[in-house]
Amino acid sequence: MKQYLINTWQAIYTVLVGMKITFKHLFVPSVTIQYPDVKQPMVDRVRNRLFVNMDDCIGCDQCARACPVNCIEIETVKSVPPEDLGKTSQGKKKALWVTKFDIDIAKCCYCSLCVYPCPTDCIYMTDSYEFSEFERNDLIYKFATLTPEETEEKKANFEKFQAEKEAKKAAAAAAKAKAAAESKPDDKKE
């Protein structure tokens, strides 16, 4: 009988204790973060989406070579003498047209190994992490600033320049050979 009364009392008492706790929590501010509207700040050294500042890129290809999964593809064309590509923000002279700078972020493993070798600090990790796409091809980010026509033009320019150079070289070589042939027939005779 005593146990019976104790049980009854405990049942009522413990329910009241529980109700007190939940009542207190009614006034505790919520811990929910309204995600798309409010975002938690990221830590300083997060590694998320890669970004390339093309103004500073000198097309040295070191990042592409450092990449363990080959997600960076770079193609460059040499500039021809009258063209001036300007300088990077750190004062390095740019000598190459970067005609293609594609990063396939779907392949990227966020190892950040491409960031360290960059001589101009133009490739770096940003804190943006929402970049899902419906098509996998949309995950290939094209950073090159030149239009396809410009690329063609630069290539043609370079080839023309190269051809002229070759021609000059050939002409020079021919002239040299000719000169040599003219100036040294005596030597051969000896």
Binding site: N7, T8, A11, I12, V15, G18, M19, I21, T22, F23, H25, L26, V28, P29, S30, V31, T32, Q34
Partner: protein, 356 residues
Amino acid sequence: MYEILTDIIGNQIVAYVIAAALPLFVFILPFALVAVLAERKVSAFMQDRLGPMRTGPYGLLQTVADILKLIQKEDIVASDTDKKLFNLAPILVFAGSYAAFAAIPFTSAYIGSSADVGIFFIIAISSLVVAGILMAGWASNNKYSLLGSMRSVAQIISYEIPAALVILTMVMLTGTLSLSEMTEMQTQYFWNWNIFGGAETGIVKILLIPFMLVGFIIFYISSLAEVNRTPFDIPEAESELVAGYHTEYSGMKFAMFFLAEYANMFAVSAIVVALFFGGYHSPFGYLGNAIGIDWLIPVEQLFWFTVKGTFFVIVQMWLRWTLPRLRVDQLMNVCWKYLIPYAFVNLIIVGILTLL
């Protein structure tokens, strides 16, 4: 109320139909809309969350969106179900819980039925819900549904005994079965409420208070069990039985079960209010009396009844998000070994006290 409606419409039958449909459209549907949202918000706040926030300002339109979704949903009837019973069950469950509203006195001006056997009628008609639930579980041809409905029926029938014993106590005290008469006895000020000894005077009133409190607690616990609310929600125990007796239902039929559950929640709270907390009476006089506007009094009464009823619904939610679910044997233990003996002792003591 009927007289006014008959005067306006001119046809008695139409007036009756409108009067009968009034609580559904004026009260139960809006109440269910608000209560579902309140339930989610209360649970969220108790768990330090925010609850629905996306639909409308502060998620206020969440239930409206849910209802729209439920209306659009396909009404699935599995091929092996007993189709007649399967389709009838939600209607029966809802009819049972809706019929209980007929005898609940909302205000002195609107009482669906001022029958002399009001509370008796409510006990009787709410047993229809049991039949509906068993029908739903059986017709679904699903083991989880059947288990859920069996548990539900066992639970409701068991807990009707302590509830009926407490109601018997109150009937002995007040000497009437009619809820409106019972309410009229608790008029004027809150110390005339039954929980504070009712309209008795002198030493008996003070002696009655603890026993009224015991009666109230027993009735409230068993009413929780009768509407299948946590901690007595073993019929629809999500972690064990998917969803209990309404596992196989979808769309509007599921919505009807849902509506019936919330209607029931208010119905039992209303009975608690009518039995113990003065029904529709204000705890301290009426503004309408003070400034002499007669029609204001029923409006105030409706306000007080809604406030008191909603308070007990909120307490139900509060308990739901506080307590874990009972096991079946614990459930029966509480009912047969604790509530019923206490209710009997209470009945006898109150009986002796009323003789004094």
